[in-house]
């Protein structure tokens, strides 16, 4: 099927998908759907049916969904329509379809977390906290999404469920581990998806699939009733096709939660009302050193476009970023090993062998080295907070390259052959290591998009989102229509 660009004069750049429209909502962003449903111009049930039809038509290619919760979605949508008919407030996300990485608990489903082993778990009794908050705001859960096994992945490939595929070229990776989230939003199946990011698993699929992703500050959004990976580094966050949609879902999900020990007690700090504020007074710099090394020309071009649009010429060296990445790796592999130790003993043959062998190795790291990695984390955090006294935003590549081919194991950079898996996240890991908020913005290069990280100080998601919004309005960043459908 050929894609054609649909634009309307009301938006700066087309962010809506064109996958062969059969329903008007196919082309709408979440903000537009919510407005249409709340005003009674569109039925939530019709919007839901349209999303289900898109999944039926295109997910045979994308392989983004592992579970479609059609009956539940129809029930929820019917309730939204009833609320609107009765004149009640249906919420800021009224009738908006969304889906979640399959490590979120969905009542009635076993939380597989990309694994074979977890399918033997009893069905979840209650939804994850963020699903509850999205639905409380009127959104409609459509299903659960493919992911790399136990989130230990940057590719979006899965030996049990098959790979999620890139909506711009199905022979390429989505990135991972939230691969289905990237594919479902990039392919226009749903306007919003939720994922997790321990070392880059929101930002990498955002980059490869050409969509917006928000990894909030560590502790900002509740992780309650999601399957963990690395307690020290796990974050949850949204994917969307516009910054306003990202902010809308983020605002709906904020708030303290005693069920997540790391969740902040800060009050809700809504961003949506402030998105269009002028960014002229913000101090923006390029992240230097490590963040300008090991990049392909497309990543250089993407960062240059963003820097030019923001008139950024100043570069700040980030001290010890390579070592931060190394420490993140050590904490990840050891905490991951600890989490899965008993499964490694009892069911080693049921793991993806690549994940199993990494986790076994992680179990063998001497304890003092893990302690030093956590102490280094404290040191690095102090240095970064010092940098944020003189700048408000840092710009860095999200990935070193556009999406590699599925199954690709190496790439050649500057004449050196490097492993793909280990290098996809080299620019995301030093940032999530200390929990900084990041918006990954898509630069629509041809033939494949690539993302750039807009990084702010802790708890300043508002700043990162405002800069992303300004870039979107300038037409520098946008979610391109899926070229591979």
């Amino acid at each position: 099927m050929n894609s054609r660009c649909l634009t309307t004069s009301s938006r700066p750049v087309s962010s809506q998908p064109d996958i062969g429209m059969s329903h008007p909502s196919d082309a709408l962003l979440a903000t537009e759907i919510a407005r249409a449903v709340a005003s009674g111009k569109m039925s939530a049930l019709d919007v839901t049916e349209a999303a289900l039809a898109r999944i039926r038509e295109h997910d045979t290619i994308l392989n983004s969904f592992t579970d479609v919760t059609a009956d539940r979605a129809r029930g929820k949508a019917g309730a939204i329509d009833a609320a609107v008919a009765a004149g009640r407030d249906a919420g800021p996300l009224a009738g908006v379809p969304f889906a979640v990485k399959n490590l979120f608990d969905v009542a009635g489903l076993s939380t597989r977390a990309g694994s074979k082993i977890n399918r033997d778990r009893p069905p979840a009794a209650r939804d994850a906290a963020l699903i509850e908050r999205m639905e409380a705001a009127g959104a409609v859960l459509i299903g659960a999404l493919n992911m790399g096994e136990y989130a230990y992945d940057f590719t979006g490939e899965n030996v049990h469920d098959g790979p999620s595929r890139n909506p711009h070229d199905p022979t390429r990776m989505t990135g991972g581990s939230s691969g289905g989230s990237g594919s479902a939003v990039g392919g226009g199946l749903v306007p919003i998806a939720l994922g997790s990011d321990t070392n880059g698993s929101i930002r990498v699929p955002s980059s490869f699939c050409g969509i917006f992703g928000l990894k909030p500050t560590y502790g900002r959004l509740s992780r309650a009733r999601s399957f963990p990976f690395v307690a020290s580094l796990d974050h949850l966050g949204p994917f969307a096709r516009s910054v306003a949609d990202l902010a809308l879902s983020y605002d709906a999900m904020q708030g303290p939660d005693a069920d997540d020990a790391a969740c902040t007690t800060r009050p809700v700090e809504p961003v949506t009302p402030h998105l269009a504020r002028d960014i002229g007074g913000l101090r923006v710099a390029l992240a230097g050193g490590h963040f300008q090394n090991n990049v392909f020309p497309e990543a250089v071009e993407a960062v240059a476009r963003v820097a030019k649009a923001l008139s950024v010429t100043h570069t700040i060296e980030i001290p010890e970023a390579m070592r931060a990445r190394a420490a993140a790796y050590v904490i990840t592999t050891t905490e991951g090993a600890s989490l899965h130790l008993d499964r490694l003993r009892k069911r080693p043959d049921d793991f993806d062998p690549a994940v199993r062998d990494r986790l076994i190795a992680g179990a063998m790291i001497p304890a003092p080295l893990i302690d030093r990695a956590q102490k280094f984390r404290r040191w690095y955090r102090v240095q970064m907070l010092e940098i944020f006294k003189s700048v408000d935003v840092l710009i860095a590549p999200a990935t070193p390259c556009v999406a590699p081919k599925l199954g690709q194991t190496t790439f050649v950079l500057d004449g050196v052959e490097l492993p793909v898996r280990a290098n996809i996240g080299i620019h995301t890991q030093p940032i999530s290591f200390i929990g900084l908020p990041v918006v990954a913005v898509p630069v629509p290069l041809e033939p494949m998009p690539i993302g750039v990280q807009i990084i702010a100080a802790p708890w300043r998601e508002d700043i990162a989102l405002r800069v992303a919004y300004a870039l979107e309005r300038m037409g520098v960043v946008a979610a391109p229509p899926p070229r591979g459908l």
């Binding site: 070592r323 790796y329 003993r345 062998d357 992680g362 990695a373 280094f376 984390r377 404290r378 929990g435």
Partner: protein, 60 residues
């Protein structure tokens, strides 16, 4: 083929933790451990003050 110096260590830790390792997996486990230890050494080499606290309870 001469045994890799890591093999004795892998055997000892696998035994202590009761983790089964089949021969077919061993090269991959060893390769991953080699990478992990290299990165851990990079962290180890960095001088840290005695009074620095670990970030195991972390606040952003």
């Amino acid at each position: 083929m001469a045994a890799d110096p890591l093999d004795d260590y892998i055997d000892a830790v696998a035994k202590a933790l009761a983790i089964p390792i089949e021969d077919a997996w061993r090269p991959a486990v060893r390769a991953n451990l080699d990478v992990s230890l290299r990165l851990a050494r990079m962290v180890d080499e960095f001088p840290l003050p005695d009074d620095i606290e670990p970030a195991s309870v972390f606040a952003a």
